[in-house]
Amino acid sequence: MKSQSTLRIARVVAGKDLQIEFRSHVVINRIVPFAALVMVMFAFALDDDLLLARVAGGLVWLATLFSLFIIVQRSFAIETADGALDALRVAGVNPAGIFLGKALALVVQLFLLEITLIGAAIVLYRVHVEPSSAVLLVTCMFCATLGLAFVGTIFGGLAAGMRGRETLLPLLMLPAIAPVLIGATKATEAAFNTSGMVTSEGWPWVGLLAVFAAVFGVGGLSAFSSLIEE
């Protein structure tokens, strides 16, 4: 019986996903610029420097959410394009491993995206990150990203496959990731020291993000096989 260790499978699947991204540059060349453009659009729409600085935290995560749908759909499009997800299923590859692997690949891509967006916020909206807040910011990004990646993989797996299912993805995902939007925004505002928040106030929100990530990580590991199953 071949070894079906979840971690090993996850490593191979994540490696494959990242290898594809490295080769095709879809996220770097298309999605990140889109997200940066969204940040510019916010400036046009809101048109008020003080306001922008105050809401910068929320805007970063909104732009992330908009891009999340595209990234998740891309992640599963590479599987369904030539029946690869089916092939993985029939090969009896441990679904929990597939879930973890795809989620980890999403984490890397999302992290790159968020770094870019925070950079955009610093440049466009003129927020500052003190060295003392950097730890908070990075931890916030890490926990939020995990949660988003887990939710994205869960519902992306469900929405993959049959035509017409992709429209289901935003509807299912948005209610689920509302807590991340709330928590990440607050923590980021604390890190930026905007909206009257100080750095220390951000940590409870990071706690919320961590709980969220844990819940959906465990949920995804158990549920994924049912969702991709025929």
Binding site: R8, V12, R23, D82, G83, D86, G92, E230
Partner: protein, 217 residues
């Protein structure tokens, strides 16, 4: 395992939505056979293969593959089965070598096994560094066959495997199948290629209307 057969199916019904693709399928396959499924389009050949692979659930009836009850142990069957459907299961942005490496890493096969499989399918060497997206249909097919070879499956389920391959490729495929059977595997394939596959097969079966029409030798 009751009978020692690789596949034992009795009155199996498989549905897609409201449509009964298999309407009471009864048949069995012995170890070491190369079984050919023939029949018109829509007869249920593809569904039968997918069901034996544990991909599609059984709605009614009984079925056992490699000793596992398909109603309860579908996922256990999959490890031991190699399935090749209409699509290739390839990642177009990766090279041939990277594609086959992905599958061999999943089953913990070594790099030398990968290279051997590539050589056998005639896509080794420099060709293997090309991206799958740039290949012809025949080369893609060879790549998906290489994926299958590294799995070392006990039961091979192939849906129109010769389609898209040139003469040399088809000869190579036949040789691989015979060699797999010689090493203890069993093969079930569906094909419209009458000439070649009748020579290859040890038994031919007619499928029509979701059932076996007759089982002749």
């Amino acid at each position: 395992m009751k009978t020692g057969n690789i596949v034992e199916m009795h009155d199996a019904v498989v549905v897609y939505g409201d449509f009964p693709a298999l309407a009471g399928m009864t048949f069995s396959v012995r170890k070491g056979e190369i079984l050919l499924l023939q029949g018109p389009n829509g007869a249920g050949k593809s569904t039968l293969l997918r069901t034996c692979a544990g991909l599609t659930p059984i709605f009614r009836g009984t079925a056992e593959v490699l000793g596992h009850d398909l109603r309860t142990e579908r996922d256990l069957v999959r490890h031991r089965v190699g399935f090749l459907g209409h699509s290739n299961g390839l990642f177009s942005d990766l090279t041939i070598r990277e594609n086959v490496m992905f599958w061999s890493r999943l089953v913990d096969a070594g790099d030398d096994e990968t290279e051997a499989a590539l050589e056998r399918m005639g896509i080794g060497g420099r060709l293997a560094d090309l991206r799958v997206g740039e290949l012809s249909a025949g080369q893609k097919r060879r790549c998906s066959l290489a994926n299958l070879v590294v799995r070392r499956a006990e039961l091979w389920l192939l849906d129109e495997p010769h389609a898209g391959l040139d003469g040399g490729g088809r000869d190579e495929l036949d040789a691989i199948l015979r060699q797999a059977v010689a090493s203890g595997a069993t093969v079930i394939l569906a094909s419209h290629e009458l000439e070649r596959t009748r020579q290859l097969a040890t038994r031919v079966v007619q499928v029509s209307g979701g059932q076996i029409l007759d089982a002749s030798l």
